[in-house]
Symmetry: C2
Subunit: 490 residues, 2 copies
């Protein structure tokens, strides 16, 4: 038992863990099997659970204090206290009125955002976003920060990640990506669009393909599920019960396949965390960015590779007659079209990080009050023009496209780029990757990832974990190297 | 808002309600979609939730005391306090050591009972059952009772139900049932077995039939689900989310159909409870017996009637080719075979209550120490001989057949007979029933049941509710009248 020295904390924490366990299941059920009439009661119960969890955290406050700076603790025990302190910190430092106000504003803002997006009218959403930004600035003040208020919010999603880190990553990435993009289009090996994007499929057939893919990916039958929901997601109930969802749009079959591979990447991380950490705050990913690195690694670096297409091609032609007209190379091109898109979630590997850079710049300057919410539509469009050379025709395909801000998630977006960056670091460091993928030896891939990163859960901060694994923190050059190898060596 | 005078209780109780809501969902998921590797963690979390719920109940103890005997409360408010007091009573009166000991013994006993049943060896189970009976006797002492210790346990499942009630019900039922059974066999209209019991079906077809049946029964699509599990059950998540399950054995198609109708009866009760009672202790059935009356009423009195067979016959022949060889009357006989069975769950309407009488007599005498656990196999077999004229060949088809005692459920069995008795009272009082069923007008049936019984939830004790609805408490003569009409008028 690795938590011998903090047994009281370990035992007490089980209550929080159990409440979160139920919360996860209620969340999963809401998106999959819940009869729709229960939606508002489910919302209320989830709210009550948040209160119960908060009460339990505050109860742990004094208990955890006594271990502060204590010697002779194991890495697991230090990690337990570090993560627990981070979880408690928000409730201790931010006044309850601010938390409640944020809950209230965001639950209204979500509805308003949906309407505003539908009618492409930013002015409807503006007053809500102003209140959210204002409240988030207050949250940052209460949490405390060095140098830049945005740092307080970034830290909520990515421990220790700062504006200095972000600036230096994007300063390296953007010119290199621009260069890669220009060359990709000059060579014109990868198309901008592909005829398969328009071909319709039978949902039952696609379900069979997805089931074969999760079997090939060696997702464990006894502790993993795939269901259907409006938006794909991964949820960990416990380390023995991790569930993903996908959706079936009825055409462009790569969409559902890559959502399954992406979510399977998240799920694999959760499944590979050391089982000794179960029921502790360490039984989770090291950070949002590290988590995203796993999903991106599986989706893009493995899933969109020539080797992986070779592995799944027989399955595709087994169930989808229309695929037979295309050879493996053609399918490889279909899953790797490169084209500047107005919409982030449609973006390819090369242009995706421009979308994040834009949001990062906006969030940073909103927090420091250098720009106003009212200016966002125009600023957004200018950034799009500058980065990708295209301009949204309206707010719906511009500043209103993402749900995140309506939920009060400011500081979350950069972790998408960190996910890509860390996935690049894994690629760089994993010598037998292509061979393992070509042989569909995904048990080996999992063992590699487990030993390198996953088994540690949240024992170490993301930067410490990366240094332990790769001898360095976030390094964008590995991602650039990967993209050059894949997209320019053709 | 019907709880104006006890607002503090109402608000505080929401926490318990929310914890129970999650507990129900975790229970449902465990039997339906949970990946099997999570079983032991799920068990641990459910245990933690029981602790959390207990803590919340004890917190409410002082709060509820202050309303004791207070004037000018509405029926709803009085009911709220009455039911809450009943729920708290167990935790307040029974020492935690006894509760924990019972939890421990029953969780071991469940496993031992399974093995003992498999090898048909009562001696394995005997020491566990002895400890359980001993503990249950202690529970009865701590809870307190008048006249007979069994009364304390009966009251846990059926408020106010006593040995005096039980004795007088069975004293009326048994000779009458014996008489009815003899005449049924003399007339020989209803067969003992039917060839359809051996015919295999395709599960996909049966799923379609069950889906058509729940549509005919007007189960609401937006707040109801039907799934598959090893043992059929009903669970209420909330009044807007009630779920049932069934199973498909692959032959004898009436089994899955009547499990669906039975569970739909339970579900209908939950769905008909006044929505104003949601999130209170009143949002549940009045008692286990009243709940069973609903499932039995739908399953037997409606479902096994000639009128209902007329309604579902077209669906049966639509999906099951082999049914076409039988006319409606023949299907009516197939679903109403009458034959003494060794196994309670296989018993028909006429002989079922003998199985309960046997268990009632045994539980009563165990509690008063008139008989010993070691004597049970022999006593069981003698009762079977006396009541039904058949003798189990071994303990597996005798004293070991039911799971209940291994779970510490002593006092539960009689509620099955109460369910039949109350279903008979409904039959007696509902004049247009046959017409409504023949016309498949199940909305009307539901309105009748709602106004008569269901909408009140647990506002009134079961006896008060029956007096309000029928002007009398449990009356076995209505059941006898129903059985005579159905089985002797042929």
């Amino acid at each position: 038992m690795p938590f011998e020295n903090i047994k009281d904390l370990y035992e007490e924490y089980k209550k929080i863990w159990s409440l979160n366990y139920a919360l996860s299941l209620m969340g999963w059920d809401r998106e999959t099997y819940m009869p729709p009439a229960d939606a508002s009661i489910r919302g209320e119960v989830i709210g009550t659970f948040s209160e119960l969890i908060k009460d339990q955290y505050l109860k742990l406050y004094n208990l955890v204090q006594k271990y502060e700076g204590k010697e002779n603790l194991s890495d697991e025990e230090k990690g337990f206290i570090r993560v627990l302190n981070r979880e408690i910190k928000y409730y201790v430092k931010v006044p309850i009125e601010i938390i409640k106000e944020l809950d209230k504003v965001t639950s209204e803002a979500l509805i308003v955002w949906r309407q505003a997006k539908k009618s492409s009218d930013f002015s409807k959403f503006k007053p809500y976003l102003e209140r959210i930004v204002d409240l988030e600035r207050k949250v940052a003040e209460y949490l405390g920060y060095e140098k830049h208020p945005y740092n307080a919010l970034l830290d909520l999603y990515e421990e220790g990640f700062t504006v200095d880190d972000g600036d230096s990553i994007f300063n390296v990435l953007l010119p290199n990506l621009k260069d890669i993009y220009t060359k990709v289009r000059e060579k014109n090996y990868f198309p901008e669009t592909h005829p398969l994007e328009e071909v319709e499929y039978d949902v039952k057939d696609m379900e069979k393909i997805n089931n074969e893919i999760i079997r090939i990916l060696r997702m464990p039958e006894d502790s993993f599920r795939l269901d259907i929901s409006a938006h794909p997601f991964t949820i960990r109930i416990s380390g023995n019960d991790v569930r993903i969802t996908t959706r079936y749009e009825g055409k462009d079959f790569k969409e559902t396949i890559y959502s399954v591979i992406h979510e399977s990447g998240h799920a694999t991380y959760e499944l590979l965390i050391d089982k000794n950490l179960e029921m502790t705050p360490l039984a989770q990913g090291a950070s949002t960015g590290i988590h995203e690195s796993q999903s991106r690694f599986w989706e893009n670096i493995i899933g969109r590779s020539k080797e992986f297409i070779h592995v799944i091609y027989p399955i595709l032609i087994k169930y989808l007659d229309f695929v037979k007209r295309y050879n493996e190379e053609e399918i490889y091109k279909y899953v790797n079209t490169i084209k500047p898109s107005l919409i982030r979630v449609d973006a390819d590997e090369v242009t995706y990080n421009f979308h994040i850079a834009l949001r990062y710049e906006i969030e940073k300057k909103l927090l420091s009050d250098e720009i106003k919410v009212g200016e966002l539509p125009e600023i957004w469009n200018e950034f799009m023009d500058k980065y990708l050379g295209i301009r949204p025709k309206n707010d719906s395909e511009g500043v209103l496209q993402d749900i995140h801000w309506s939920q009060g998630s400011i500081g979350y977006f950069p972790t998408y780029t960190l996910g890509n960056v860390v996935a690049g670091m894994i690629y760089s460091s994993y010598k037998d990757l292509k061979e393992n993928v070509r042989n569909a030896d995904f048990d080996n891939v999992k063992t590699w990832l487990k030993e390198k990163l996953c088994k540690y859960g949240a024992i170490y901060s993301p930067k410490d974990l990366l240094r332990k694994a790769f001898g360095k923190s976030y390094d964008p050059y590995d991602l650039i190297k990967y993209l050059k190898e894949k997209y320019l060596n053709v």
